[in-house]
Amino acid sequence: MNAHLTHAVVIRDLSRSFKGKTVLDHISLDIPAGQFVALLGESGSGKTTLLRALAGLDDDAESKGHYSRPDNVSVLFQDSRLLPWKTVIDNVKLGLRRPDARAAAEAMLADVGLGDKATAWPSTLSGGQKQRASLARSLLRAPALLLADEPFGALDALTRLRMQALLMRLVEHQRPTIILVTHDVDEALLLADRILVLKDGHIAEDHAVSLAHPRHQHQTELSLLRARLLASLGVEAGNL
């Protein structure tokens, strides 16, 4: 019982299936508060399903097992999912019932570098700008748990690097627990404290990454882990 107090997320024997097809198979997992977890896995390994289960977005699944997580959860999707009929700032503060919501949203927009886009329509933003607005919407709620489903997957390589740096800078103070689903082994290596590899609906590997930030790709510990992760994902690094 005591373990539950220090863990932000506790998952026990969690299974999910859709129309009889098992996607998550008896997953058990403890995540300490403030840990940054990257979830790697091939397409169809169940990464997104696990994230949607924790977000409470899988009413249509047959569920078994249980989990506990903080009430204050934000979700960052791959697409920005801004409401096209709301200005950027109205999107960021959507549903916030705080008297200072507007001022806080303005400050958060300035933080993500969109201070001058507050009253713009989402359709006028670039892909990277939309994702910044989406990040601002997620973090304005000061979540205890941030669930991110390949949030930078659709961005070009340079924008992705900038967004990764921005995310690290912003969560430095808030220190939420983060679960980041990603295809990108380097992204996982650069950002996460812990890397999980999901295979056929269960956790196949669990690695701690204790290197301090900022990291860069050529550090030996990362290179070794990269080769291992790529191999477990079915890619022979030597062939590239």
Binding site: L57, S74, V75, L83, W85, L94, G95, P122, S123
Partner: protein, 258 residues
């Protein structure tokens, strides 16, 4: 400027056919090629709403019809919007209400008139109910469709952000359904206009553009009938542009997409 002029000229292309028909009509009647008690010239038709005692009734008739179409259209439109919202969002409402409405919709609109006059008499009530009915169906269908097509990813966002029920309606479902509702609104406005004029024409008594045309026909006054028909068309264009303006004013975020 050059571009503006070119565009101005292009927009005049649409006027070629009506102007040609008008010239032909004017030539045929003023040269006396066609004669008879029912033949009138364009000039007579234009003059009759101003110079003729019976013709001057056109303005009051137009005002009455407009008031009727707005009142009836508003009642029917609001009911259609509400019903469409409920059947679009709730399975229970869809199962309970949709089959009935979709069946009743198959009845040709004007087939309702005998029944409505039996229920509501030959007065204002029947005309209003008929107009409301004409506006109801298009808005019901469009709203139901629009609400059903709200993108699932945005519904997920609403649920992740813990939006209240009221916020979900006003900030998610209704705005997301607006493009579909606008198409419904344009059809509903014209349908209600046709319904108003049709009810006035079929019932015959009381004031209104439909009764105005009917009485012109009974007096064999083709100038009055034609002036009425032209006003009817102008009224339709006016209502259509009102609906478009309303749509645009309510959805400023589509300005760049128009």
């Amino acid at each position: 400027m050059a571009r503006l002029n070119a565009r101005g000229l292009l927009s005049l292309r649409g006027a070629v056919l009506p102007l040609g028909a008008l010239s032909l009509w004017w030539m045929v009647t003023s040269l006396g090629l066609v004669r008879g008690p029912l033949v009138v010239t364009p000039v007579q038709v234009v003059a009759v709403p101003f110079l003729d005692a019976s013709g001057r009734e056109l303005w009051a008739a137009l005002g009455t019809s407009m008031a009727r179409v707005l009142a009836g259209g508003l009642i029917g439109g609001l009911i259609g919007l509400t019903a469409g919202y409920l059947t679009g969002l709730y399975r229970l409402a869809a199962l309970g209400l949709s089959p009935t409405v979709h069946s009743i919709r198959q009845v040709a609109l004007f087939a309702w008139i005998p029944l409505l006059t039996a229920w509501f008499g030959n007065g204002e009530a029947t005309k209003l109910v008929f107009t409301a009915l004409s506006a109801f169906f298009p808005l019901f269908l469009a709203t139901e469709q629009g609400i059903r097509q709200v993108p699932r990813p945005l519904v997920d966002v609403a649920s992740v952000l813990n939006l209240t029920y009221l916020t979900r309606i006003t900030k998610l479902y209704l705005p997301a359904a607006l493009p579909s509702i606008y198409i419904g609104l344009q059809i509903a406005v014209l349908s209600a206009w046709i319904g108003t004029i049709g009810a006035e024409y079929a019932i015959g008594n009381g004031r209104g553009l439909g009764s105005f045309i009917a009485s012109g026909r009974d007096q064999f006054r083709m100038d009055i009938v034609l002036a009425g028909v032209i006003t009817l068309a102008a009224g339709g264009v006016l209502l259509n542009s009102l609906a478009t303006r309303l749509s645009h004013a309510l959805s400023p975020w589509t300005k760049d997409l128009r």
